[in-house]
């Protein structure tokens, strides 16, 4: 056991950089008042900052509950994921879901992406080249004119 101590140093070699701080020192931590959110937001996403691969979800992507979500057992979803689903009975953008569920936008992006990948949410088609689609633009302009 004495071999775990380097000669001439009283500190064990476990996580040798821990004592150098700043993260290991309590006085280097931000004051509690600086922490705006009550929990670390990415706790809700398991620390991930992007959603499941192969799912293209943007802040304006519109999602709605899938048929699967209407029949799936509720125990499949819990906590923030359920909060997201509860906002998706009617088609809403990810930004709306985030605002209404009280979730940071990037957290909502991850959670919605996961739920789309699992088939519990259906996402709007990504309008690839709206700016080149004359018929689409004319329909849009007619719609705004009629407002």
């Amino acid at each position: 056991m004495s071999g775990s101590l380097p000669p001439g140093d009283g500190e064990p070699l476990v996580r040798p950089f821990l004592h150098r701080g700043p993260m290991g020192r309590a006085d280097a931590m931000p004051a509690a008042g600086d922490l705006r959110g009550e929990v670390r937001p990415y706790l809700m996403t398991g620390g991930r900052t992007s959603a499941s691969p192969h799912v293209d979800v943007a802040i304006e992507t519109i999602v709605v509950l899938s048929d699967l979500a209407h029949t799936a057992a509720p125990e499949r979803v819990a906590f923030e994921r359920a909060r997201v689903l509860s906002q998706c009975e009617y088609p809403r953008s990810v930004a709306e879901v985030a605002a209404r569920a009280g979730l940071p936008l990037r957290v909502a992006l991850v959670l919605v992406g996961d739920l789309v990948a699992e088939g519990l949410l259906v996402a709007s088609a990504t309008a690839a080249r709206q700016a080149d689609d004359v018929a689409f633009l004319e329909r849009l302009i007619d719609g705004v004119t009629a407002l």
């Binding site: 931000p30 600086d34 922490l35 705006r36 959110g37 937001p41 990415y42 943007a58 802040i59 304006e60 992507t61 519109i62 999602v63 709605v64 509950l65 899938s66 048929d67 979500a69 209407h70 029949t71 799936a72 509720p74 359920a82 909060r83 689903l85 509860s86 998706c88 009975e89 009617y90 088609p91 953008s93 930004a95 709306e96 985030a98 605002a99 209404r100 569920a101 009280g102 940071p104 936008l105 990037r106 957290v107 259906v122 996402a123 709007s124 088609a125 990504t126 309008a127 709206q130 700016a131 080149d132 004359v134 633009l137 329909r139 849009l140 302009i141 719609g143 705004v144 004119t145 407002l147």
Partner: protein
Amino acid sequence: MVSQPFDGRLSGRVPADRAPGYARPARQHSERPAGRRPPIPVKIIIAGGFGVGKTTFIGSLSEIEPLTTEASMTSMSLGVDQPGDRDRKTTTTVAMDFGRITIDGSIILYMFGTPGQDRFGFMWNDLAQGALAGIVLVDTSRIADSFVALDYFEKIGLPFVVAVNQFEGQRNLTLEETRTATTVGPAVPVIEVDARSRESVKQGLLSVLNLVLIQAKARSGRS
């Protein structure tokens, strides 16, 4: 039961409408909208300096009270956004406000307001990605506040209009002077809007949509 499978488990845990000012949509649809492919979103970016009227502009045409997302709280604003900063305006746009306009059953238009301060510029890529067009709101007494937005839209090639927000009684520059001061290209419309007026905001939106249409027709060769 089938239409509300989550209600029993969720309603006690989550207030249904916790966003302030949000009216729960009336359940006018007899058929369940869920499960079908949702409408296509159209994204318009409303940019401009702090306090120039972006949220007012959005709210004038939105069918919902403008909502706010707190995109910034997870990263850069933490420890930077001092409470003193917020004294300048009662409802500070620390993140972004947005509104929604249902065009028809298959198109919903979203107007996203850019965060008011430069230091939230890191969010702009998220905002601009996939955007159809932009509107740069200008206060002619603080015209330099719009330069960040103008630079960014020009850099990414997003079609936009310059919209001078008419504050009451204030008319420091003519539209032509505003064009000169902003040094936008001749193809960029410079218009006047009243952010408080639904009709005026609608015309501003149509102005930029027509610009996009003209450009699309030019590219497709049928101008």
